[in-house]
């Protein structure tokens, strides 16, 4: 905990901790936080020493809650991440992200010839094959996607 104190506390918002080192910027892009995000301040710690993970990334976002699909997306690139909801400087809720067994509508199938990539009334849909290494399988074309391919399709 003392390591995370390098980043100031937030009054209200969300803390995403235990992100695999180096993945924080990808998490921000998933949350669509960029130079145009004027409504909330963000603190980022990259490669912060951690007793559990050696090094980790941490993100604190003021005045921002996460939607379920955002948490699911984060679980795909930072499967050990923990999320704390902060209200008036107090952590009111804390949980670890969990890779869903069925991943619906958040990853585009890597196979360009998959039927989910054309104008049909279905969402993309994958089944979790393996957590480490991360492998998911498209429920339509049955192709596997690796972590690298998933990162490019989020």
């Amino acid at each position: 905990m003392e390591q995370t104190l390098k980043i100031s506390k937030i009054k209200d918002g969300t803390v995403i901790d235990h992100i695999a080192a180096g993945k924080a910027l990808k998490v921000l892009s998933i949350l669509k936080i960029d130079e145009k995000s004027n409504n909330y301040s963000v603190s980022i710690g990259i490669r912060v020493p951690s007793s559990k993970m050696s090094y980790k990334d941490v993100i604190k976002i003021e005045n921002r809650n996460l939607e379920k699909f955002e948490v699911d997306k984060i679980s795909l690139i930072a499967p050990d991440a923990s999320i704390s909801i902060v209200k008036d400087y107090e952590v009111t809720q804390k949980y670890t992200v969990e890779l869903p067994a069925r991943i619906v509508g958040i990853v585009k199938c890597h196979n360009a010839n998959c039927i989910t990539n054309v104008k049909e009334p279905v969402s993309s849909e994958f089944t979790l094959v393996s957590k480490k290494p991360l492998v998911i399988r498209c429920n339509f074309c049955e192709r596997n996607m690796s972590e690298r391919e998933i990162l490019g399709s989020l």
Partner: protein, 304 residues
């Protein structure tokens, strides 16, 4: 039980269901031999949608349905009608289920039959989706091996040719993981089996991904040859050299075991010399004719 079930992937059929289909196909073969007309599916209608050209598969499905006493409605050029008007496959299927009792689809995109099955209350049979699955071809291939060699376990199957795009090879290879077999894979570098198929094979599955053709021939019980398409090559000289090294001739057959068989999903172009056709080892036309009893068995079990 297969009643009212869609068959999209070979994984949709369990081992015991496969055995049931094989037994039923034996019965259907007998009926066909005797020339007795069947009225099992009198009044039932099959709708076929072929978004890609097909001769054997289409004729075989339509013949099977007619032989069972049912009837067939089909769109001759599915691609040029509904697709040209911008209709989604989902809508086409929801329309077709009102007109028929079972729907057969061939489509150029992977996952198309799966999507169709999601939107249809009537059973869907996948007759080939892109480079994905072709489950009825696979059932027919397994049936052929069983019928020709008396069983599948303990056999060595050597697949040669286009292992990259050939969906029959992908489906068959995955189905063979349920048996105690050895598989040799032989292809030119640019037509190698894709990693996404290899990654789905169980770790202990006995497969040699870079087998030597001559060495493999000696131990082979089933030589499964696929068509090498000219259009896959940018350099036509490369195509000619590949065709030269992978074509099956009477000399190839001489190197094989006496009781071994040669299979091919057809059409063959230059991969198998016509001189091989008269060899008792040439099983590819018998394999094609198994398409009717196998599909009769499957359709009758789904609609029966």
């Amino acid at each position: 039980m297969l009643k009212n079930r869609s068959i999209v992937s070979i994984d949709d059929v369990s081992q015991s269901e496969l055995e049931d289909i094989f037994k039923k196909a034996d019965e259907m073969s007998e009926h066909l031999k005797q020339g007795k007309p069947l009225k099992i599916l009198d009044g039932k209608i099959m709708a076929t949608f072929f978004y890609e050209p097909s001769t054997r598969t289409r004729l075989s499905f339509e013949s099977s349905m007619n032989r069972l006493g049912g009837s067939v409605i089909s769109v001759s050029e599915a691609k040029s009608s509904s697709v040209a008007k911008g209709e989604t496959l989902a809508d086409t299927v929801r329309m077709a289920e009102g007109y028929s009792d079972i729907i057969v689809i061939r489509h150029p995109m992977e996952g198309a039959a799966k999507l169709a099955a999601r939107f249809s209350s009537k059973p869907i049979i996948n007759a080939g989706d892109g480079s994905g699955q072709h489950p009825t071809q696979t059932i027919m291939d397994l049936y052929t091996i069983r019928k020709e060699l008396g069983g599948i376990n303990g056999k060595t199957i050597t697949m040669v040719g286009d292992l990259r795009y050939g969906r029959t090879v992908h489906s068959l290879l995955l189905a063979l993981t349920n048996y105690d077999v050895k598989v040799n894979l032989i292809s030119p570098e640019i037509l190698k089996i894709p990693d996404h198929i290899i990654s789905r094979l169980p770790k202990d599955f006995n497969v040699n991904v870079s087998a030597d053709f001559d060495n493999a021939l000696e131990e082979t019980d089933v030589l499964y040859v696929t068509r090498i398409q000219k259009e896959r090559f940018t350099d036509q000289n490369e195509y000619l050299s590949v065709i030269g090294s992978y074509s099956i001739t009477p000399e190839t057959v001489e190197k094989m075991k006496e009781k071994s068989i040669i299979m091919h999903p057809l059409p063959r172009i230059d991969e198998i010399s016509p001189d091989v056709d008269t060899s008792p080892n040439a099983a590819y036309f018998r394999q094609a004719s198994n398409g009717v009893p196998v599909r009769m068995a499957l359709i009758s079990m789904i609609l029966g």
